[in-house]
Amino acid sequence: MTPRTGTPVPHRGPATLAGLLATALLLAGCGAGGREDDGEDGGGASDTGVTADTITIGAHFPLTGVAAPGYSEIPTGAQAYFDYVNANGGVHGRQIEYLVKDDGYNPTNTSKVTNELVLQDEIFAMVGGLGTPTHSAVVDFLNGEGVPDLFVSSGSLMWGDDVAARPMTFGWQPDYEIEGKIIGQYVAENQPGARVGLFLQDDDFGEDAEQGVRRYLDDQIVEVQRYTSGSTDVGPQIAALQSAGVDLVLSFNTPSYTALSQLVALKLGYDPAWFYSNVGSDPGLVGALLSQISEGAVQGGTNALDGVLTTEYIPGVDAPDDPWVQLWQKVWDEHGEKGELTNYRVYGMSHAYAFVQALQEAGEDLTREGLVEALESDSQDLVGPQLAPFRFSADSHMGISGMRVVELQGGVGEPLTPILVSDIGDAEITEDTSGQAEDAPPESGIPD
């Protein structure tokens, strides 16, 4: 053992601490002062983040970390579409400046980068911020600051079910509960004899979905297993589904866990039918992950998920003849970065399109309140790539109202149902009559 040669510790602790605290308080004071001044500039027809010829908006995405595969491509798609709009004259003569910050799917970082975006970069609106745990951390801050918080990239109910509490926040993709309901009804009607097991991410995603599924399928569910996001060992969970005799697994998980669950099933010699929710079912991404692992033993590429059921609410790269996808391809060829057009980039472009549309509706005198009003009152006019209409109103900020069930074959989704629409709670599931699935983008590719 090393002898203690002890240098006496100087008794300066409390003094230093007091000094630090004082400095911190002073700094905080400075920050608050600055903020007040900024707020007062924001009156009149043009709001914070809006000038005669620019609109500054922001978003947080996981550009690094475990959630980055796929998701980090979303902002590249949105950026390409904004570049396209800017190159064609912008919206009411204003160019869109899109600031993307990396939060690594870590809520602490989300708070930090959102503070930067709102207080330092003075964005007009947050557009497409990704993730349930991450965006939950900043949703109250954004609403408190009166920043429009549009088209959150997550299907949690939180973005639209309580307008009084979160008046500035709007969802975009169909929420996990209606997805659960539509999946539940499909299975109850088409596979009434199946022994159903649920494989759920252990957070709001899984909870909302389970609630939806159970409305239609309660007595067919024989086993429920939850995995903790971050732990790559799902062996015990899949083994439990297997031993319960589950022959149809409904999975609500992220893409990496689709690959992991398929691997474990191979290991266990377990071959049920799989129904992955939209989030986890991108055949391109999952196929790429799976193919290499087995050095060809697992059929790679987009065929990896053949026969798997999933859902679809916007046309994707598997439908190259769809007029919307043709527009996205054109935008990507002209303004995209290197790399192919992917479903994640299409997702980014689709919500960017909805945002440009909202700006058009809000008119030339752009204000934050005006934008929110436009979304609440004119949501039926917001016709876009989404297969079913938005549900925006003064009482609900829930996003796209429905989807269809598809079966994957060679990476292409073959529709099994018409577009089904519903709402949260015990709203019925009906066929969509809006005809949005058949529409095409305007000639210019920019909403009028």
């Binding site: 970390g65 732990s231 015990p236 297997q242 691997l263 290499q292 692992i293 087995s294």
Partner: protein, 292 residues
């Protein structure tokens, strides 16, 4: 019954992986008396080296060889260049330094290799073996993992117990001054200890990665459970760390399968506390606590 069997087999394979990692910790502890927190990111880096080699078109085995070789070099270089300068002072210095290395290597790997999930091929099949007409949750790759870890454990036991080199390494770690007086080249022994530990760690990294997904954080959960396994076994005993790894792998697999996966870290903590309450030195400790 099937679930019990499969959950046990999943836990068993996982336990051997923890054991491999614990072995690396034991090795570095026995040969330098430093607890190396940087073991996980070091193994992660060498696993990525293997992945780069394999993606370049080489076979899995060449990838493994590249990982082991780079592990050996990385361990020796880190000991010489980073750890050596702070040795001689308090032991805690080196330990804190390894914590720093943990963060640095993590960040570097994210920059160099990218921060996303990538798939890592397996050396053998990843379908479960068939026993009779039933598939059990044990893959040929899993069998290879188990055999590899057992062989490494046997080699380590042999090294420390039966060879002159092992004796000198232990002596150098245990009491530098006396060892030096007795003619042991202490510096060389310490470097060798780090290099060997890093090699075993690299093996563990590749074994864990095979047939699964890797990203710069993929060893982070293993480092925690590997530490628990090593401490369970007493930090000093290769056999103990393998037993510790198995106990942990099996218990955690049962907790995950029958109770809930969110309780896994808590269960690991509980096991650790219980064992340390009953046997403060670990299950296989032989040395009694020394008075300071």
């Amino acid at each position: 019954m099937q679930q019990l069997l499969n959950t046990s087999l999943v836990g068993l394979t996982l336990g051997f992986v923890y054991a491999a990692f614990a072995l690396a910790l034991v090795l570095v502890w026995r040969s330098t008396r430093v607890v190396n927190f940087a073991q996980a990111p070091m193994a992660m880096v060498t696993t990525f080296v293997a992945l780069v080699v394999i993606e370049g078109g080489a076979s899995w085995w060449l990838g493994l060889a590249a990982a082991l070789a780079s592990g050996l070099v990385l361990g020796a270089v880190l000991e010489r260049a980073v750890v050596r300068p702070v040795q001689g002072g308090s032991q805690i210095n080196a330990v804190i330094l390894t914590l720093g290395l943990f963060i640095v290597l993590h960040a570097l790997a994210a920059v160099v290799f990218g921060n996303r999930y990538r798939s890592f091929p397996a050396p053998f099949g990843i379908r479960g073996l068939e026993v009779g007409d039933r598939t059990v949750a044990l893959t040929p790759t899993g069998v290879f993992t188990i055999v590899a870890v057992l062989v490494v454990m046997a080699l380590l036991v042999a090294l420390f117990r039966f060879t002159d080199l092992g004796l000198r390494m232990r002596a150098a770690a245990f009491n530098r001054e006396v060892a030096r007086l007795l003619g042991v080249r202490v510096g060389r022994m310490l470097t060798l200890g780090w290099a060997l530990a890093s090699l075993v760690g690299s093996l563990a990294g590749v074994l864990i990665a095979s047939g699964s997904l890797v990203h710069p954080g993929f060893m982070d959960s293993v480092v925690v459970f590997g530490f628990v396994a090593a401490v369970l076994g007493g930090l000093d005993s290769p056999v103990g760390s393998v037993v510790g790894g198995l106990v942990l792998g099996l218990s955690l697999s049962f907790v995950s399968g029958y109770v809930g996966s969110q309780l896994v870290p808590l269960a690991a903590l509980l096991i650790l506390v219980l064992v340390l309450l009953v046997r403060p030195g670990g299950l296989f400790s032989t040395t009694t606590a020394r008075q300071v």
